[in-house]
């Protein structure tokens, strides 16, 4: 199973999967047939995975597979200076799939103080590629103002 989502999408998927797993064996209010149509993350996934929602066992298995996949996914924490739109998030997912892998959770955080670029944490490794860091490093290379290039 390929699953490349943002952290918020991952939380939403886990939350909806919990709800659906609890609803599978209910017969009254809150049963699967009532809950499933309300989901915003699981429903597109099930359609993509061609899950037969009338088959309770298949649904249960798919939900558990999704949960396990998310549990085993790598997590990349990315801090950017702006609020990314869906288009850019898709662009990020494509880049991540091509360069990192398919089962990845992108934990996007916002900090305008970094001016631009990105700060990332991956596999316990922290890297700062922000503009503010680059500016600071640029000035640190010179002992005083008179040495700055003109």
């Amino acid at each position: 199973m390929k699953l490349l989502v943002t952290a918020r999408e991952s939380e939403n998927i886990l939350e909806e999967s919990d709800t659906l797993l609890r609803s599978l064996y209910k017969v009254e209010d809150g049963n699967f047939d009532n809950e499933y149509p309300r989901t915003t993350s699981i429903k597109p996934l099930f359609e993509e995975l061609h899950v037969d929602v009338r088959n309770k066992q298949q649904v249960e298995k798919a939900l558990n597979d999704i949960r396990d996949t998310l549990k085993d996914s790598q997590k990349i924490q990315l801090t950017v200076a702006f609020v990314p739109n869906e288009k850019f998030l898709d662009k990020l997912k494509i880049w991540t799939e091509q360069n990192v892998g398919t089962n990845v959770i992108l934990d996007i955080r916002i900090d305008s103080g970094i001016l631009g670029g990105v700060k990332l944490v991956f596999n316990g490794l922290y890297k700062d590629f922000s503009l503010i860091a680059k500016l600071s490093n640029y000035f640190k290379e010179y002992n005083n103002v008179s040495q700055l290039p003109r």
């Binding site: 739109n85 631009g116 590629f129």
Partner: protein
């Protein structure tokens, strides 16, 4: 016979006196000027005393000889005259000897005084040269010591001035570095604030997105995503 014995006794006495005088003269020659003078006076006095003593002795001897001769059975006027003549001759002879001795003594004293004077002049000249050399040497030493101490004092002053100069220079350098560091920090802060404001307002969304992608590419090149 008696005359002969008296002559021998008299000669012996005079010889002893001469020896005493000679010893006095010798001692006087060896003494310094004052002592020489005193010795000379003493010697003259002793010669005079010897002359007087010899005169008395001769006179006494003469009288004793005459008395003896007068009591002698063999005494006659010719013999008495002969004795008297002999005694007078002897007396004159000794007096002449004493005068001669006195003159010799005076000559010796004068010679000794002259020699001593020359010697003293030479000694004084030598001492003067010595003193001159000594004074010149001490003046030269003093001059050298003064020059050395002056030079050392100058060096000490120069060293002290140099140390103070370096100290002040170091303090100025430290102060300069602190102030420049403050200016640099302020400048960097200003530039950073300006950069924040400029980038925050001028970077459009596409540029931001491209910078993020470029940064990820950079991270990939650095091997951040390598397993």
């Amino acid at each position: 016979m008696i005359y002969f014995i008296l002559s021998i006794i008299l000669s012996f006495i005079i010889t002893v006196l001469l020896i005493v005088v000679y010893l006095a003269i010798s001692r006087a020659q060896l003494a310094n000027d004052k002592k020489n003078k005193d010795a000379y006076s003493q010697a003259i006095q002793m010669i005079n005393d010897a002359r007087m003593a010899s005169m008395h002795i001769i006179k006494d001897a003469h009288l004793k000889a005459l008395r003896t001769l007068e009591n002698s059975s063999v005494f006659n006027k010719d013999l008495k005259r002969e004795v008297e003549t002999s005694i007078d001759h002897l007396t004159n002879k000794h007096l002449t000897s004493l005068d001669s001795l006195s003159r010799e003594l005076e000559e010796s004293y004068k010679k000794a005084v002259t020699e001593q004077k020359d010697k003293d002049i030479t000694t004084i000249e030598s001492a003067s040269e010595s003193m001159k050399s000594e004074i010149l040497r001490e003046v030269e030493e003093f001059k050298q010591t003064l020059q050395k101490e002056t030079f050392e004092s100058q060096e000490m002053v120069e060293q002290k001035v140099s140390e103070e100069y370096e100290k002040v220079k170091s303090q100025i350098e430290d102060y300069k570095n602190v102030e420049i560091k403050k200016i640099d920090e302020n400048m960097f802060s200003i530039v950073l604030i300006a950069s924040k404001k400029i980038f925050g307002r001028t970077l459009d969304l596409d540029t931001h997105e491209q910078i993020v992608i470029d940064s990820l590419e950079e991270a990939k090149k650095e091997g951040v995503f390598s397993k």
